[in-house]
């Protein structure tokens, strides 16, 4: 079985030789530098993919620790918007109404401060400090928020986040800002936490930024502040900032949904061929000196070297001269089911005697056979691309 050797200059070579660019694995998102939004003197951060998640509880926002790929405001009161958007910031006006309102009131820690959780934390962090062990142990201050977390079971009904917080998040979700990324965590520790301390907390919505456009998408920075009490005494504060945003659509996402065949390269040597395809005519070159037919299209005659030519329209009848089945790499644009293959690539011998590389359709890839009769059809691959393909005849 011979390989489809004319593929090098064959107009539809892309069908048998997939575009290398499209075969490369997509560059990891993380390797793609993201532009800094504010232009502050900070190296461009890699952009992560957005995490789509349900509106988080106040503490859950910390849990979506994603790269912001942006410059969230340093101050609790955010800087002016990066883009003037008067009409969109009608939403901002609505959101600002929630500033100062409670996000959680009278929440209580699921467990008092305790040594097992402290030990698990220290094991995870590799923290061997003796301050967190023994009879005089205190909790690592950075555990502050852990004591307020609902965990898998969440907080009991009626505690935890407020209706106002839910409403604000519903507004953002309604505007398409369904994704969350944690950007900042600022904790102050006023008194050590010791085993046995009972934890309560209150969270207030401190500020909502104007609409910001970041590498991740467009949305609003929401800053909350949680006061954590131990035995009723203020033990620390936890300011937390998230970006609640509508994820920016990435081009490759769109391409993945609607894979398109690579475009043919049309040049002065093969333009006539593609002009024929546009008219649903498969044109074969004929040397006007020696009358040899040639395909694919070339500037000169393979037989006599003559430079002059005209064309003959193929009848459309042919037989499979040879074929291969592409299993790997998967290439959705070429497979009829869109799954990436396998699919058959055939070298079809036309009734006129020349051969053309194309696809055989109308028969499963594993039923294509040498000698199978086929006839020409024009496939609308997408609105901008029609291609000559060959349908297996019924007897095939």
């Amino acid at each position: 079985m011979s390989a489809p050797e004319p593929a090098r200059r064959e107009p539809r070579r892309a069908e048998s030789r997939p575009d290398p660019d499209r075969l490369s694995p997509a560059a990891p998102e993380a390797a793609r530098p993201a532009p800094s939004v504010s232009g502050a003197a900070r190296p461009a951060s890699p952009a992560p993919e957005p995490v789509r998640s349900a509106p988080p509880a106040p503490e859950a926002a910390t849990e979506s620790a994603r790269e912001p790929a942006t410059e969230p405001p340093t101050e609790p009161a955010p800087a002016p918007p990066t883009e003037p958007a008067p009409e969109a910031d009608r939403l901002h006006a609505l959101l600002r109404a929630y500033e100062g309102r409670a996000a959680a009131t009278g929440g209580s820690g699921r467990d008092p401060v305790n040594l097992p959780m402290i030990r698990h934390w220290c094991e995870a962090m590799g923290d061997t400090s003796p301050a967190y062990r023994g009879p005089a142990a205190t909790a690592p201050p950075t555990m502050l928020q852990a004591w307020t977390m609902g965990g898998l079971s969440g907080h009991p009904a009626g505690t935890g986040r407020s209706a106002a917080y839910d409403e604000m998040f519903a507004l953002l979700d309604g505007a398409g800002c369904t994704s969350v990324v944690a950007t900042d965590c600022e904790q102050e520790y006023l008194r050590p936490l010791r085993p046995g301390d009972r934890i309560t907390f209150d969270t207030v919505i401190e500020s909502v930024s104007p609409r910001k456009t970041t590498a991740l998408g467009t949305g609003y920075f929401v800053t909350t502040r949680t006061d954590v009490h131990a035995e009723g005494e203020l033990a620390g504060t936890h300011r937390f900032r998230i970006l609640k945003y509508r994820p920016a659509r990435r081009n490759e996402d769109a391409e993945r949904k609607a894979p398109a065949r690579p475009r043919p390269v049309v040049n002065r040597d093969n333009a006539g061929f593609w002009a024929g395809v546009a008219e649903h005519r498969l044109l074969i070159q004929r040397c006007t000196d020696c009358a040899s037919l040639r395909f694919p299209w070339l500037p000169g005659c393979n037989t006599c070297g003559g430079a002059e030519w005209d064309t003959v329209e193929a009848s459309g009848e042919g037989t499979v001269f040879s074929h291969v089945v592409m299993h790997h790499p998967p290439f959705p644009a070429f497979a009829p089911d869109g799954d990436g293959g396998p699919y058959a690539v055939a070298l079809v011998e036309l009734a006129e005697g020349v051969r053309i590389v194309s696809n055989v359709i109308g028969v499963p890839y594993d039923r294509v056979r040498v000698g199978m009769p086929v006839h020409l059809e024009f496939l609308v691959a997408d609105p901008e691309l029609e291609l000559p393909v060959f349908r297996a005849s019924e007897s095939g």
Binding site: P28, A30, E63, A65, E123, M125, M149, L152, T183, E188
Partner: protein
């Protein structure tokens, strides 16, 4: 770096391999059960190439970096971090720090000044009871975290060693 501390002192870097175990253990120790921190398939469904470290673990590691250096009697007063490039498994987080400010008892109790960053005078350091450290944590894909930590210095070191 030993006491007395000076503004501009660099802390020795701390390299922390970002293993799956660390990411998962940190998430669970902080009671953070978001699937993107332990379930690679779910993380991929949400567009992330893999699981990644949660912010509370980063916070804990920054705190540990400071208290590892200043000793168990140093007390964290404030940890403020901003996240950058995510910590994915297989990476290495490299924490570095630099003292940017030393506060004396006067300054800490509401006095007007802290140590001038242009001053090398040891007397500032001797009297310092609190240090402010700028922390940066880089990984293989960029800057994972930048932050500021305020820490109360261990008394004996600050008072005796420099005198």
């Amino acid at each position: 770096m030993t006491p007395p501390y000076r503004v501009g002192d660099e802390l020795p870097p701390l390299e922390i391999p970002v293993t799956r175990t660390l990411i998962v253990a940190g998430a669970i120790a902080s009671r953070d059960y978001q699937d993107v921190h332990h379930d690679a398939a779910s993380a991929r469904e949400k567009g992330s190439p893999d699981i990644f470290m949660n912010i509370l673990t980063t916070n804990g590691l920054v705190g540990r970096y400071i208290t590892d250096h200043f000793g168990p009697t140093a007390v964290l007063r404030k940890v403020a971090i901003r996240l950058g490039a995510p910590n994915y498994p297989g990476d290495v987080l490299r924490l570095t720090g630099r003292i940017t400010e030393l506060r004396t008892a006067d300054a800490s109790s509401g006095g007007a000044s802290s140590a001038d960053t242009s001053s090398d005078e040891v007397v500032d350091a001797v009297e310092a009871i609190e240090a402010v450290v700028q922390v940066t944590g880089g990984n293989g894909i960029g800057r994972h975290v930048t932050g500021t930590v305020a820490v109360t210095l261990p008394e004996p070191s600050a008072k005796r060693t420099g005198a």
